[in-house]
Symmetry: C2
Subunit: 427 residues, 2 copies
């Protein structure tokens, strides 16, 4: 499709779908969807003849068609060119297509997600997601990280036992759907040192916010001999690189979404700011936001901070009591842990959580017990602190939130092909 | 590590693990694991002094250490160079590491999978898997396929309802873990035309063969306007490309596995043979194998065919009765469907199943009913045959079987970081 402007005047044959149609008794303007693009096709009665023109005029939305026509330059067409129709063949009809050009409710659209995917914006969002996914893998491949696919079916539990989906597993009792691959990734650093996983993740949370899904894709990295500060730098390089490369590759797609890419590129042009949790609390208090040291920072608080500081920010060294058991205690301040959250601007909020991991056997056992987690389920994880433990750090990024930021969308549910929410498992 | 031979005589500082140690009262030979490689390190009493040499000699397996030394050329070392130790620091101790150089039983090793990953062969197998995964994604990215992540949690069912894991899903009843992303991929071809997914897949099969896992990774592709014969060509190009590129990138790894890469490369040098199912049955009968037209070809039959025909083979046009409901009826022979299985040689067996899809609404409804599948669960899938249906084809490849072939392994269970089998969910 890129080289059409070099082929003005030539004949072309294409297969695709009738995305939309409008016109008069002499001209019909077809929006034709092919290879994931929308192309303007002009049908003129004088050229086609009465009979063919009548067929064109009666075409219904989503009919699959095969067309022949001449490529014409047209500055007003979205691509700079259009097709003058010469021949048309119907592949398969379509009647009463449920998604019409009129406005539909959100619930209706998600109930017709299998068809809604064909819509202009939805098509483009998933193409951006696809590119972002590839750039993520490419980043790690170039840095010689080994891709370790961590299991979904697990006997032990990651972060919190209360929000797990479970299934019967033959004669072995229950298996749980993994909330994170981190603990498994940690086993692999002893062999590969630099590892990542990227796959679906599950949270049985009764949450209905615009930032939560019950099934979402997460990319997680784990690196041996890496300390928290270096881990933050690594995340910074990662996010800015994959966003820059995706914007570059998806320029036309982001234009369709009316995303201000100049602003986005300026947001990822230089290293993100890094502030201390305690510092963040002071900022919030001085903005009149009601919060005390020791409390978690909610979505509203995150927004205030990114607006005040003008971009994405890392907040580091949170209170130990509100973070996961595996985070390393801060040697300079025992109330906090060596961790970071990356907060994206424009209302997107937290996109990455990362930390240096606790490597002291006794400290980690104490934390598992404090959290009331079943110690026996972690026996294999604790082995990693027995046999040649090393300093290491890692992080996890939620793909849909990154897609939301890049595309400029308020809700993650359009950022995944088939969103799963508390009240939605269909189609 | 690649450029060490250019740095002979220079000092180097590395962190890693003591993989193994042997030697005398004057020399100790350490196998040092760093950056996923095994390096020979020579400790000489005369150079290190009595005290440090004593520490080295007492080092135990898997102790994490930081070393300083001089790079020396040594043709006998596996990498062509080794390190002469000058300084050593223990990062963290390791005592009674369970996996010793002696032989261990399979069950013991899989129960210690979190540590076994550090072993020479296991490390290399997962690096090959990682490269293969990347080459798969790279292939599709270059061909402008859109990556569509299909859901794991599903309300409807793919191939057979009897072998599904299920979980309670809030107030919506049961959700099932997807056995395939195909039906969802089919929805996306109407928007993107060329799509693929690549993620974990689940089969609650009570199967204990060396080719089955309950959780495995599958890559599936779906292409609009593609017929069965072209679909076979596409699979051929795909498999041969990703295997060639992986062998190229993992030469040293495959040497460690003692894989005959010359043989493997010759097996993927030219297009695979394509034979008809009926033809395959004749071949088998003439080999004295007991089978009748209409029966499925089991692992033994597959082996006979690949040996007789000397390489990987596509078997096409199977009997309709033994294949899935969504496969297109063969217009030239109504008893068969337009499909293909790719059988890999060397005892690996079926690695891909593919087909052209049935697009006729009435035929597909009849097949769903014949198979006793719940029609209402497929309402959204049937919509695809109502609104601008087009000819299309697709296929799915099991990653672990491809890894087994490339690495020359008899069993898929070593081809995934944490294998899930009927009797194994831990660690």
């Amino acid at each position: 499709m890129e080289k059409m402007l070099e082929n003005i005047g030539k004949e072309i044959e294409l297969k695709g779908w009738l995305h939309g149609i409008r016109g008069s008794n002499k001209f019909q303007f077809l929006t034709f969807r092919t290879s994931g693009q929308l192309i303007q096709v002009i049908a003129e009665k004088e050229i086609l003849g009465e009979e063919v023109f009548k067929i064109v005029k009666s075409l219904t939305q989503e009919t699959s068609i095969s067309i022949k026509g001449i490529i014409l330059a047209n500055e007003k067409a979205n691509l700079g060119w259009e097709i003058q129709l010469r021949q048309i063949e119907i592949i398969s009809p379509s009647s009463d297509y449920p998604i019409t050009p009129k406005e539909h409710g959100t619930d209706f659209l998600f109930s017709h997600r299998h068809l809604w995917l064909r819509s202009k914006k939805q098509l483009v969002i998933l193409r951006v997601r696809s590119e972002l996914s590839f750039q993520i893998r490419n980043f790690f491949h170039q840095k010689k990280y080994t891709n370790i696919d961590t299991p979904i079916l697990t006997g032990s539990v990651g972060e919190s036992a209360g929000t797990l989906f479970s299934t019967d597993y033959f004669d072995l009792g229950k298996a749980y759907l993994a909330q994170t691959g981190q603990l498994y990734l940690e086993t692999a650093i002893f062999a590969h040192e630099k590892v990542y996983c990227f796959g679906p993740t599950f949270r049985a949370e009764k949450s209905k916010t615009r930032r939560h899904l019950t099934e979402f894709w997460m990319v997680e990295a784990e690196t041996a001999f890496l300390e928290n500060e270096q881990n933050i730098q690594f995340q910074d390089e990662f996010v800015r690189t994959v966003v820059q490369k995706t914007v570059e590759a998806c320029k036309l797609d982001l234009e369709i979404l009316e995303r201000d890419t100049t602003k986005l590129l300026s947001q990822v042009a230089t290293a993100f700011q890094v502030i201390d949790y305690s510092n963040a609390i002071e900022h919030l208090k001085s903005s009149g936001f009601s919060i005390e040291w020791g409390e978690d920072i909610n979505a509203e608080g995150e927004n205030i901070l990114t607006e005040k500081l003008g971009g994405a920010i890392f907040i580091k060294n949170y209170p130990r009591a509100i973070k996961a058991f595996y985070m390393k205690q801060n040697p300079n301040d025992q109330k906090t842990v060596l961790c970071s959250d990356l907060i994206a601007p424009d209302g997107v909020g937290e996109i990455i959580g990362g930390s240096e991991r606790e490597v002291d056997f006794d400290k980690i056992v104490a934390r598992i017990q404090e959290e009331d987690l079943p110690l026996e389920g972690y026996s294999w994880y604790l082995d990693l602190r027995k046999y040649g433990s090393v300093p290491h750090s890692g992080w996890g990024l939620g793909l849909e939130r990154l897609v939301a930021w890049v595309c400029g969308l308020p809700h993650v549910r359009e950022c995944i092909p088939f969103p799963r929410m508390m009240y939605r498992i269909f189609p």
